[in-house]
Amino acid sequence: MRTDSHRTASPQGPRKASPQTIVIWTLVALVGATGWSVLALSRGEDVSAAWMVAAALGSYAIAYRFYAKFIAYKVLKVDKTRATPAERLNNGIDFHPTDRRVLLGHHFAAIAGAGPLVGPVLAAQMGYLPGTIWIIVGVIFAGAVQDMVVLFFSTRRDGRSLGQMAREEIGPFGGAAALLAAFAIMIILLGVLALVIVNALAESPWGTFSIAMTIPIALLMGFYLRVLRPGRVAEVSLIGVALLLLALVAGRWVAESSWADTFTLAPSTLVIWLVAYGFIASILPVWMLLAPRDYLSTFMKIGTIGLLAIGVVVALPTLKMDAVTDFAGRGDGPVFAGSLFPFVFITIACGALSGFHSLISSGTTPKMIQKETQVRMIGYGSMLMESSVAVMALVAASIIDPGLYFAMNAPAGVIGDSVQSASQVVGSWGYQISPADLAAAAQNVEESSLLSRTGGAPTLAIGISDIFSEVTGDSLRAFWYHFAIMFEALFILTALDAGTRVGRFMLQDTLGNLYKPFKNVSWKPGLVITSGIVCGLWGYFLWVGVHEPLGGINQLFPIFGISNQLLAAVALAVCTTLLVKSGRLKWAWITGIPLAWDATVTLTASWQKVFSSDPRVGFFKQRSVYQDGIDRGEVLAPAKNMDDMHTIVTNSTVDGVLSAVLALLIVVVIVDATRVCIRHVRRPALSTLSEAPYVESKIVAPAGLIPTKAEKEEARDAVGASPGS
């Protein structure tokens, strides 16, 4: 194996910055600093979202230019002469060198989902400032670093997955713990995402109809691609998006017609529909439903995020939420319980640091990257884009009336189910909104009620419809609201299908060790059994979430956040181990510090969820409070009867045990990784590094989005440069 010390350092060799560069970067720094100052210093007056955008973009630019470049060239020592797996193992299908701009699109579309949209909305309960700070600082020092470093190491290992890297580099024990944690996390993720959908679609004939229509549309697209014109994705996607918009418009007609009742579904009915959908979709062939759905949701995702970015910049709305609310210190917020540390970090999750991204950064993307030097643009750059999506979601949640925000996000058990009681309870928290205004807000978007529409999606949709109708006029407000709901529901449904398949795959692989036929992934009985188990598991959490007297999102979202952040801890532990083992000990802090922070936050949150003596936070305390109530024969609010009391006791027990088990698994991974690192430092000869050997690259391609002068000259001299550049 060759080392690469003689071919590294900065790409153009030592050079001095030109006066022009210095002026530009000073200006960028000033823009960012001004944004931060205004956000931090203004209290009680109206702050424009422009400052949030300025703080974010200024900080991203500086982080990308300086910190990401430093990590890429000084720490990882990316090597443009080293062939990537895409070049070495090119099979024309999953391994093939892909143009960096195309891969950026692919990677971003793969990592962006409902998470960064929902988390910041819920975190807005503590005010916009804590969320903004963590989304921006977190992405710069933790999230984007994780994505880039995982991408780099997986690229050096022929695109190995995170689980494989954990097994090979840490050991079978840590690897098994990581795999088990990944499975549990997948189940929780699917349960919570499905819960978000149910809360958005319940009692909403318009939303339910348009989402239901996506199934026949996807089937039609699948048929078109399979039978009529194979592979013509662009044209079929255009047809699909047009039909989708038609379904959206038709949703209003249905909601106003006599069919409305058919599509007005109670939450528990929707649960059954969703689980049935998840099960059937995951056993159907990929071409029929999953693949076309995926095209649709990708188009909608990119389109809507683009529109939202334009909307925020054009409308530059004013933030109405407080910078920091009283709930931040007291920890008794209605949206989720617990104080700012650690729960704001847990709730924001994906927009700042997401463990799930490490599954994309290892596995899919490394098989397509053209040049090692592009990990900065693809890994770090995409994550900055995702973080900006989270900032937009936070803007959307902070521009709506705080009274409406709390009425939408507090569980029904807390605010009651009439606008009068909601107005009164929300008023007692210091946010005034009249019953008439609450009713009018629902009427404006043609929904029967907006009370307790928890989960973040409806709140985000209200924010988006506010921003968009500022540009297009008020008449389209209801349309934009349902457009936003459809956009989220669409990719959550796709995630349910895809996630069930991945969970099933893990299960088939494991069960295959006990009973051989399971290993054959196309063995029908095995397929049906494992799909059924996976759907049953997430379906259980969904059912529990919908029937939870204390509020499903309130109870389950923290577990979702914790599990995602725990997966990030696994990824960061793998990265740190690899940095140490590959002779980069002095740079191990690059991922080591984010790991320490993430582990502290997440394990503190797990600890509080398990052991806190505050019944709103600690699951076992909650359990004992309600169990004592049952023993005394007393019904405690928000439970309405003894059945509710028993439900709470059961759920709190399950949630508490789950939190404890997840935390234990991650502690095992971190301890095992630490053991490997210490062993390596003491006796380096004992450790092995499974890096693919050096092969010289024949491809010439730029590292960044815009080629530098030197790269252009290089490309001119080379043959076979990528088309279109």
Binding site: I111, I360, A498, F505
Partner: protein, 66 residues
């Protein structure tokens, strides 16, 4: 002016074809012709079937996040 417009349209078309993977077949054919000149080139229909079958076998390919 017309030249610039023409280039822009071509650029967009190229990006859309690449991003949607509509160009996957052409790429595969080029790959087979170049690296395995003796192998038979599948039809587009066969190729697209093979691609979805692969995804069926390992659903982790092309997985998307929360």
């Amino acid at each position: 002016m017309r030249l610039a417009l023409h280039r822009a349209v071509r650029g967009v078309r190229w990006y859309v074809r690449e991003f949607t993977d509509e160009s996957a077949y052409d790429r595969y054919v080029a790959h087979v012709r170049k690296d395995h000149p003796d192998a038979a080139v599948p039809s587009r229909r066969e190729f697209e079937r093979m691609r979805t079958d692969r995804q069926e076998k390992d659903p982790r390919q092309g997985f998307r996040c929360c």
